[in-house]
Amino acid sequence: MNLLHYLIIIPFIVGLFCLVIPKKLSKLRDLLAIGGGLATFYFTIVIFLRKPVEWFYNDLLLLKVDNLSGFILLAIGLFGVLIVLYSLKFMAGKERLSEYYTYLLWTIGGACGAILANNLILLLVFWGFLGLTLYLLIGIGGPEATPAAKKTFIIVGGSDCLMILGIAIIWSLTGSLQMDNISIHLTGLLPTVAFLALAIASFAKAGAMPMHTWIPDCAEKAPIPVTAFLPASLDKLLGIYLLGRIAMDIFVMNKAMGTLLLIVGAVTIIAAVMMALVQHDLKKLLSYHAVSQVGYMVLGIGTGNPIGIAGGIFHMLNHAIYKSCLFLTGGAVEHRTQTTNLNRLGGLAKLMPITFITCLIAALSISGVPPFNGFVSKWMIYQGVIQLGKDGDKLWIIWLVAAMFGSALTLASFMKLIHSVFLGSPSPTTPRPVAKRNEVSFTMWMPMAILAGLCVIFGVFAYRVPLKNFIFSAVPGISFLGFWSPGLATLLIIIGIILGAIIYWLGNIKSLRTDTTYVGGEIIPQDNRVTGVDFYDTIKDLGPLKVIYKKSEKKLFDIYDQGARVIFLFTKGLKKIHTGLLPTYLIWVLMGTVILFFILVKG
């Protein structure tokens, strides 16, 4: 047995065991799930250290690990363990737990398979299987989640059909399905169609516009660990991995397709973050960011130069880290307060300090505040865009402004989140007594803390840890236009804080006094508090934006609803024929037979 097989087989078998273990032995099942996750993680580490590893079947290279897939496997393994660990407490007492762990483990196995696959058919099989487990995992959320699961299945599954088409075209063009020896120039109609088909499949998985609409629905209804695992981290890794593969290996990009990717990226960044600004629900707000950030990755890959592609891929890794951290903190909040409605939260920073700090770090990372990891990858993407301009593209400033302004908008919506959930004044639903710490349990905050720690490490030691080990080898030929020394910056920030602390010490800080808040001498009524939900209503009511927001509330930009509308229009006429009366049907059958008979006799 090859080393690579373990990654696929272990999660599958452990998952099967989880399914059949009787309910009474739930402790054993939990242990088994975490053991399966750990074992897979262990093997991803081993394989990462030993790469490149390959597995041939009758001279056919089916599975392989190279520099790009190596670190993605590692990330899948890590997220798998963390999510299982988090779920132990979060999901405890919920229905259908055995199924939940089984699907979770199968997802890990399927994802490893999809990343390992070198054969396009094999990739397709794992890809389709992942769509199925995603559907099943969303379904764990109960009957309310069924529509969201259906929508996800239709969008992701529909794009799988396009993927089959793309693979078929590739086969007819080259006669090969081995990813490592296909290289198609994007000239003519067929290669372009194939590229688009595969790109749409990757967009649907990663959640780039216009295939993103399943993510907000899924985030709202599915259990939070599922959202943190799939749409937030794993699906990004897979989708952008596929996009990177087709853009770098399978196809030779041309300018038109590059520009298309840039447009998709820029629109995704801005449109999704504008939606996030006005959300009233913690999970929905986060989910729109899960869409918006994909824009950066697509934009980075669309630049087509090494620094941009490397930035996009690095952003994918970073995004997976901070976004699943954010969803997990959201889960911790939900666990404590039983709500994710921003109107009903507030002042949780005192009660849940660890959750607050991890959430703040992740929020600053996603907003691209230096020296965290989000900044480094965004900075690389910007350089890719500027490099595009140096190579003669005049539109680069548009992509750059979209990306940088999108980053400010991201910051804005996260400030709203931080205010509404953790800061601001406590809400009536905040657990009492307010003064006492009420942090979630160890197995829940541990994964959050690890992910937040990674945000810091990947930012501060960007060159030494993630870039050197993961990115530089995956994308050769990177040259930086600018420079950024995150280590020095962090050191200086720390020194600056020490300086400030000295000023504190010099001053009269010992006479620290706590007092009630001051609002011009007025007493604030308990129910009259600033929740932060309507912070950006000024922007919502702004001229043309008002119209766009109204339209998007009616789901005018939702490809699923629009598609459904078109299909129902078609079936409207057909519906009338289906009266349900047996004699009418018999007449139809008779008429058909007569016509058929007539044609046959005549022919």
């Binding site: 703040l360 601001g424 600018g482 600056g496 001053g507 001051y518």
Partner: protein
């Protein structure tokens, strides 16, 4: 390492920037006073204010998050000190790379605003929340034209994003201000700078007469002193950034130094005049102003830059 520490703590970092910041804030108050036919404060008044605030007791709001409330001012101070160090070292030796490039500076300059916002949120005071949310909206408003304006020189310099390269390009050719696109971008950048410094007509987040200093309402004693110091330093650092981007910075040789200082003083005078002759805007007016006319103007500048004008 010791050299870097010296740069950061003494010159051109913390001590230098803080002292100049105190001086600049005095100029601001003095000129404002003269405009209003008052005598104005003595030279050392900002220092007296600072020291006095250090001696006052610090009050922490009950409803707030104490540690976040007290730590926020420190991060802002650190960020503005780093930017100042970076800008001055670039001007002194443009060939040496220190810390970061243009994009880094833009991002670091946003940190003081973020700290004010988080500190305001942590106060647990409705007026502070309101003010902080306005600050956030102001950032959104000016950031769009600001990015466009700052990248106009980058277009002229064929995609150079290291500050040293931008300076050397200006010294070798001519300053960016010396072209139509540069002029337009410069005007946009000045107005965005006014908003970045939260000065009238864009002091909407504080709006003393309306929401009682907004995010600062609960601050007193040492943390308030730190915030004030940060703002004074910003009043020095942000115009300096524009001097580098558009006016060729300061050349450190003989009379050129004086000429460079004059460039900064010119910007300071514009800031002070603008803040003394305008009424405060409403937040929605400000957003419309920046996303409408200002952005269009900045786009015109960008197009002119592409045309080589």
């Amino acid at each position: 390492m010791a050299k870097t520490l010296f740069y950061f703590i003494v010159f051109p970092g913390f001590l230098f920037t803080a002292l100049v910041g105190l001086l600049v804030s005095w100029i601001d108050r003095k000129v404002t006073a003269r405009v209003q036919w008052r005598v104005g404060p003595p030279l050392l008044q900002p220092l007296y204010d600072f020291v006095k605030l250090l001696g006052k007791e610090t009050i922490v709001p009950q409803a707030g998050a104490k540690l976040t409330f007290l730590l926020s001012p420190l991060f802002g101070l650190a960020a503005v000190t780093i930017v100042s160090t970076l800008l001055w070292l670039v001007m002194i030796s443009p060939k040496v790379t220190f810390l970061g490039d243009l994009i880094v500076v833009i991002y670091l300059l946003a940190i003081p605003s973020i700290c004010v916002i988080i500190g305001g949120f942590a106060s647990g005071n409705p007026l502070a929340s309101l003010g902080a949310s306005r600050e956030m909206k102001m950032v959104l408003a000016y950031e769009l034209p600001f990015i466009l304006a700052i990248f106009t020189p980058v277009i002229q310099a064929q995609g150079a994003i290291r500050l040293g390269d931008l300076l050397q390009y200006q010294w070798a050719n001519s300053i960016f201000l010396n072209s139509w696109s540069g002029l337009i971008a410069f005007v946009v950048a000045i107005i965005c700078m006014q908003a970045k410094l939260a000065l009238v007509p864009f002091d909407i987040p504080e709006a003393e007469t309306e929401i009682i200093a907004g995010p600062y309402i609960e601050y007193s004693g040492v943390p308030l002193a730190l915030y004030k110091l940060t703002r004074w330093m910003m009043l020095f650092v942000v115009p300096m950034f524009l001097v580098i981007m558009f006016m060729g910075g300061i050349v450190f040789s003989g009379w050129h130094i004086l000429w460079g200082i004059l460039k900064y003083v010119l910007l300071l005078v514009i800031i002070i005049l603008m803040r003394n002759t305008n009424p405060r805007l409403r937040i929605d007016q400000a957003i419309k102003f920046f996303w409408g006319p200002m952005t269009i103007l900045a786009v015109v500048g960008v197009i002119l830059a592409f045309l080589g004008l």
